[in-house]
């Protein structure tokens, strides 16, 4: 029976029986159907859903929340869910911005909150590998590693709220990804539970050449194929030396080119960002400040941080400086980049004051783009949003050998709740069209969830069909986060 059949024949599950079975597995204190707990799991951080709640329309949340303490318990719980075709949401921190962790529709959802599984199981300091459970909140893991002289090197803006399991399941990319890669680059092996309760361990070895790497089936699967309960992760020693640099360019084109030349010549900066000239902030805040002219508005700054052994850091800085000089960039010293570093988590707070306004709308477009398309996509995105009166803040980040991520925070106010949702949808449509026209790929950072899945052109028919076939095999009852990533609801 496909999961679509489930949808058509509402599950007539014996709820008290299911509750009793779940209780037997996790214990009464680790299961709840109290409104207090169900409301706390009713929405994640998908702005569209949050906008709906302003009018009082809250999803009533899952029917059950369970907090398993070990992979074996997860396996039991998934077997029960499979038996009764109960849809399951694996839940980390609920910071998904795409609706990956919020229940939908009228079905009786079971949320499996992973946060009790939060221990470091083992640490091989010589090989610099940690084995850790997936429910640990990012910042807690990092603090524990720091206390032992190590760092994971994965620092997304949601560091204080998201979990390791959430990162792995969305192939999260942090602000240090230019140097350390995304979480999937740091992951050496996982333990996961498949929908039928089978446990999977992918072993840790420096390299394997024995068939496809099955771990990657679950990394980025957003809970649609199973639950990740633990992982082996690569560590880095806490850096001995960190330096910053900042440069101003007349246009995005030169800034992008300087960054491209640096990255493709082998420089691995800790942070590399292109953003608006911070001096413009004065004119944002102060109504008496002179209105910036077109040249000032076009300027962009490249902010960089480097870390590692002092000699390497200085060598990398030298390479960047020579490329900057070739492109006429102006050196601004350490201060602007250092200032950004000091406030590197502030961006996480920015959307909230907008969302509390009655008829506002806001979100963050993140599109992957190769170097060749970057400047064109940047300008097209900026113009498309500005021409409709929507506010934006664009940033280039997550630089890799082949390209970068273009982030575009957008926000605005509408006349009514309905218009706010319409503007929100329209903004995404615009972003999608601009990306299609300029070689951008939506969903570079936050995953697909319920939202991006419908916008992701890259999914294409063939790829989605393949995912659906895999999911049907692994999850015949269709219980795992149905509807996410474009899978059957």
């Amino acid at each position: 029976m496909s999961s679509r059949d489930n949808e058509q024949q509402p599950v007539s599950a014996p709820y008290p029986e299911i509750t009793a079975q779940l209780t037997e597995v996790v214990g009464a204190e680790n299961l709840s159907s109290s409104p207090v707990d169900t409301i706390a799991h009713a929405v994640d951080f998908w702005p569209r859903k949050l906008m709906e709640t302003r009018a009082g329309r809250w999803h009533r949340g899952p029917r059950w929340v369970v907090w398993p303490g070990a992979a074996a318990e997860v396996a039991h719980v998934l077997r029960i869910a499979s038996t009764y075709a109960i849809p399951v949401i694996p839940y980390g921190g609920g910071s998904s911005m795409v609706g990956g962790a919020s229940p939908r529709g009228e079905r009786p959802w079971l949320v499996i909150n992973c946060k009790r599984m939060c221990n470091i199981l083992d640490m091989d300091e010589g090989s610099m590998v940690v084995h850790v459970q997936a429910g640990v909140v990012g910042v807690e893991l990092e603090e524990r590693l720091n206390a032992r002289g190590f760092s994971l090197g994965h620092v997304p803006t949601s560091m204080t709220t998201a979990t390791l399991g959430g990162w792995l399941s969305t192939r999260s990319s942090g602000m240090l990804s230019s140097r350390y890669g995304r979480i999937s680059d740091l992951c050496l092996g996982i333990t996961a539970v498949l929908p039928d309760g089978q446990l999977v361990h992918t072993r840790v070895a420096p390299r394997r050449a024995t068939g496809p790497e099955l771990m990657h089936l679950l990394l980025g699967a957003e809970g649609t194929l199973g639950i990740i309960t633990a992982a082996h992760l690569r560590l880095h020693r806490l850096p001995l030396h960190r330096q910053f640099d900042s440069f101003r360019f007349e246009r995005i084109d030169e800034a992008a080119e300087a960054l491209r030349r640096s990255i493709t010549s082998g420089v691995r900066p800790l942070v590399a960002r292109i953003q608006r000239d911070p001096r413009l902030r004065r004119s944002d805040r102060d109504p008496d400040a002179p209105v910036p002219d077109a040249a000032a508005l076009a300027r962009r700054v490249l902010l960089l941080a480097f870390e590692g052994p002092a000699e390497l850091v200085e060598a990398e800085r030298g390479v960047v400086r020579s490329h900057v000089a070739e492109l006429g960039g102006e050196a601004l010293g350490q201060a602007p980049a250092r200032r950004w570093w000091g406030q590197r988590f502030a961006a996480g707070f920015r959307m909230t004051p907008v969302l509390v306004r009655e008829n506002s709308f806001a979100d963050y477009v993140e599109a992957g783009v190769t170097w060749a398309g970057l400047a064109g996509l940047y300008r097209a995105m900026e113009e498309a949003f500005a021409s409709r009166g929507w506010r934006t803040r664009l940033v280039v980040e997550h630089a890799r050998m082949e390209g970068v991520s273009l982030g575009c925070a957008f926000w605005g106010d509408a006349a009514s709740p309905q218009e706010a949702v319409a503007s929100y949808d329209a903004a995404w449509k615009v972003a999608q069209q601009v990306c299609l026209a300029h070689g951008g790929r939506l969903g570079h950072v936050y995953g697909g969830g319920q939202h991006r899945a419908v916008l992701l052109d890259e999914w294409g028919k063939g790829r989605l069909e393949l995912l659906t076939r895999i999911k049907r095999k692994l999850d015949p009852a269709g219980i795992m986060n149905p509807g996410v990533l474009g899978t059957e609801p």
Partner: protein, 361 residues
């Protein structure tokens, strides 16, 4: 201080991606989504807006807060969660939906006050209770009940630096009313605050051994029409002026200093206790979460009364950090902290700063 006054804070938290989750001692101890700061505030907001019914069940989350203020320290919106959640408790009280463990709270408060007043008069020689004085010492309930020696130790230390003019306040109360605030009993608090304010306004200075009492008198009383004209100080703030005069005969090799939330984060007093401690301790060890980020002992917000297991777990996290070292002592400047940490001490001595100083004189 009605519930609606906190609308802005409640709204910001409702639409926040739970960015301060990691700071909350209660959330960390329970690992339950419903009790992280964001979820508690969101629940309070939904109740305020009438989108969720106020029941004993929904109101119960308002009590999963020890009032430490650590979340606000991290918050870029400067949201102050504690007063909003205490206002939500007041709403629960008004709606008859407060916790069963809060029943007859007022009667119990006054019965305890009576018995502790009697205890105080047994503890301290009558000559210390002087009506006419410039500086009055207002001892707190937890000190009298759980660390009675601290009162004598404080007087000894003051004596040793030549401050022999401090009188014990001979009043009717040994508490400035923090428990009423935390219980959401605002009219009881208002009555008590006015009584205490009238009595203490006759002094030039009032010193307290309880950081929460100081904060209440200095900052909350004026907001509820009960300002105190006297300058209200924590003992540590007062004694800091005389720190150089403290002569000790011996010292302790090393000890941790635990910042009480109300002395540290709420009153902003971080260096004075360290300066004083430095007179008696050669190496002051710092917790990984210290000063503005000091982690709570789990004793505030009536948590130890309502959720003793959670409160103990919070204390354990603090003491576990000490246990990983060979350091034998934790020093603090609040009887509530000391009591709570001592419950999970694992053999480490938890001692009040005044007692430590008195011991080393």
């Amino acid at each position: 201080m009605s519930f609606d006054e906190y609308e802005k804070a409640l709204e910001l938290c409702t639409y926040c991606p739970k960015l301060c989750r990691h700071t909350c001692p209660v959330g960390n101890a329970e690992r339950r989504e419903a009790v992280i700061p964001q979820a508690k505030m969101a629940m309070a907001n939904l109740v305020r807006k009438g989108q969720v019914e106020l029941t004993t069940e929904t109101a119960s989350v308002f009590y999963h807060c020890n009032g430490c203020g650590l979340c606000g320290e991290y918050c870029e919106h400067d949201v102050d969660v504690t007063p909003a959640l205490f206002a939500a408790r007041a709403e629960a009280v008004n709606g008859g939906m407060d916790l069963p463990s809060m029943k007859h709270f007022t009667d119990r408060f006054y019965a305890r006050n009576e018995s502790l007043l009697r205890e105080l008069h047994h503890l301290v020689e009558e000559r210390y209770f002087v009506e006419e004085a410039q500086v009055a010492y207002f001892p707190s309930c937890d000190t009298v009940e759980h660390s009675p020696g601290v009162i004598g130790d404080t007087l000894r230390v003051l004596d040793s630096v030549g401050v022999d003019y401090v009188a014990l306040h001979d009043g009717e109360y040994v508490c400035a009313g923090y428990p009423f605030w935390a219980a959401g009993l605002m009219s009881e608090l208002s009555f008590l605050a006015k009584e205490i304010s009238a009595k203490l306004s006759g002094y030039k200075k009032v010193i307290c051994d309880c950081p929460a009492c100081v904060w209440m008198m200095r900052f909350l009383y004026p907001q509820i029409d009960a300002p105190i004209s006297a300058e209200v100080l924590h003992v540590v703030e007062f004694l800091d002026n005389y720190a150089r005069r403290i002569e000790v005969s011996s010292t302790v090799q090393e000890a941790f200093y635990h910042d009480p939330c109300y002395l540290g984060r709420w009153l902003g007093v971080f260096d004075a206790p360290r300066r004083l401690m430095g007179r008696a301790v050669r190496e002051i060890r710092e917790f990984s979460w210290n000063r503005e980020r000091g982690y709570c002992c789990g004793g505030g917000g009536l948590l130890a009364d309502n959720l003793p297991d959670v409160s103990s777990k919070i204390a354990r996290r603090r003491m576990d950090e000490v246990a990983r070292t060979q350091v034998p002592m934790v020093v603090s400047a609040c009887a509530t902290c000391e009591r709570n940490l001592a419950r999970e001490s694992g053999g480490v001595e938890v001692v009040n700063l005044m007692t430590l100083l008195a011991r080393m004189l």
